[in-house]
Point group: C2
Chain length 356, copies 2
């Protein structure tokens, strides 16, 4: 198994089959550059960026690395503006705003738009080597427009059904995102009440079902995880939580401290922050709203919760923050992005070299 | 990595570091014998056995194999008999009994007792090589009594905290049971609202936290899963769902058909069958009661649901059955127990031999 000459490295033009996950709000342009220069695929978490912000970040990255990189976007139905759900959510959050902030609860409107023609035109002009999507693919015309520029397309799948659909609709590789993963789950097809799927069950079944390369994402923090993912048939990995405490991470010290103190058996999927399932370290906010199901559509929850999350962070309290982290956060380290990648590469080589 | 000379094989006196999971209600004495004679550790799912039944099964197994084997028991608090919860549960189930059965809903009383002194005396007289526990350990005096007989003790852990506690309380090896696993989760320490943990995140953190051998359990169906578990640091694996469609399995054809048709992205943890979280293929019963939280204590639910489950199976309907299965059930095959083990061993050797 020569992991440096594998399908994913060839497809994306990278040295190591490792993708630094595009964590919107956590990934900095400096992290992308550091990941690229360490031989991984750096990813910009661009879901909430304007065209101007995108152009500025691309300019910085290109001034500091010649390596390929990835820009990530959210693809979701534009939300219904449901006045009743909005009012109920604002009422629920009012005591939290009273406790943490001088501000009032914001209006229940979307925080950002789904990937659309305007952003697509911008990204096709900027031409990153790779674009990745979360929550499914944009309209077929936009997919075709991106592919016509020679940009490779990745997308997250949380089931075999989603993976097969993605392959049929033109992705170049599939990110098999397990239950373990931190932040938002990328699910986009109805699961009829079923749980999200853990990595041991998800990765080999997706590998069997598609012909494009599969990238394993969720709970991978070190060389053991990378080697295990390759053994299950993945062509590479995407790692996010491994980088949240790096100096290049934009999350606050309160978030980094929570990550350092977390075991990993203390995270939960909560819909209370954005309206979609996202994995956070358990805190008072996630627990209080664990059973609430009638949140406004994603991403209206972001508009409602973001000032509260910042206010909580500003007073040094993790209680009302979105403490995005995966279930292996207990293996989290405070090394630099470059050191993390170097160590993971060395560990993986050590393990693969000891096998057989 | 010489997997035939590893710590678990030495500890348990087995050829391959593979445990056939003790699936109460699915495992037959014939399956235990077949697993043992194929070089794995066969496990009898003895949680609901009387002493007489235990003695008869042991006699059959010992007449057909000289290899070591395991007897598994449930260890749980004896339930409160809460009349209000019992009445509410019986009312909920009444329309189901009307639909599937001529019987009435049973009284809300426990279906079986936790592991206790009587069973402990019986098992110490029978002296299997290994006893494994689910839902924590019995009282320290019973643990000491078993250990004094030279019987090795295994127990499931679903978190690092549980694993560390188990090691401190005398287990010889720890079964790290991931979120993916079919049937009952073995959790026994409060998780404060956190999700159960997937294998990629659970196994390496438990390996780091304890010094006894770790056995990975959940989502392992073939040699890829075994090799990945070893790469994550486990000394062996426990496989259950891999065997449910074997001819030696006691589950009904309706259950086997459901397993053959399941993808694996269609299972859910339900408390509606027994009162504790257990993974089943999604069906009408699990969906209808997905949000019900006030079930009587485990195992009263088994008393309430078992006649209904059997009646559903008898009419060929999976709708009211407990279709225990893990999240990799999509890789399920209908081979014999011996063939499954032989194939898994060959696949694992092939993968480990190709590494490096």
């Amino acid at each position: 198994m020569d992991w440096r000459n594998n399908r994913l490295c060839e497809l994306l033009g990278i040295e190591h089959p490792i993708i630094q996950a595009p964590m919107a709000g956590a990934t900095s342009q400096e992290m992308v550059v550091a990941a690229c220069n360490a031989g991984a695929l750096g990813s910009l978490g661009s879901a909430e960026y304007t065209s101007e912000k995108l152009e500025a970040e691309f300019a910085y990255i290109r001034a500091n690395t010649n390596a390929p990189f990835n820009a990530n976007f959210f693809t979701h139905d534009e939300p219904d503006i449901d006045a009743e759900k909005g009012a109920a959510a604002r009422k629920r959050l009012a005591p939290w705003y009273d406790e943490y902030s001088f501000e009032k609860v914001p209006e229940a409107i979307p925080s950002s738009r789904s990937f659309n023609k305007e952003i697509c035109d911008c990204i096709c002009a900027l031409k990153p080597a790779v674009v990745s999507f979360h929550f499914g693919l944009p309209d077929a015309e936009l997919v075709a427009q991106i592919k016509a520029e020679g940009i490779k397309i990745l997308c997250s799948a949380t089931s075999v059904q989603e993976a097969v659909w993605l392959e049929q609709n033109g992705v170049d590789a599939i990110i098999a995102q397990g239950f373990e993963a931190g932040g938002h789950s990328g699910w986009f097809m109805d699961r009829n009440g079923a749980d999200l799927t853990g990595m041991f069950a998800l990765v080999p079944r997706i590998v069997d079902a598609v012909s494009v390369p599969v990238i394993a994402a969720g709970g991978i923090m070190d060389g053991r995880g990378v080697a295990a993912a390759l053994v299950l048939g993945a062509s590479g990995v995407q790692m996010g939580t491994a980088f949240i405490s790096a100096p290049e991470s934009l999350v606050s010290d309160v978030h980094k401290n929570a990550a350092s103190n977390a075991s990993g058996d203390d995270t939960v999927h909560s819909t209370a922050f954005s309206g979609r399932k996202a994995r956070t370290i358990v805190n008072r906010y996630a627990l209080e709203f664990a059973d609430v199901k009638d949140w406004p559509d994603f991403p209206i929850g972001n508009t409602l919760s973001k000032p509260l999350r910042k206010a909580s962070s500003d007073v040094g309290s993790p209680d009302a923050m979105a403490l995005w982290a995966g279930q292996a956060v207990g293996l989290n380290q405070t090394k630099s992005t470059a050191e993390i990648i170097e160590d993971v590469v060395a560990q993986t080589k050590g393990i693969l070299g000891n096998m057989g």
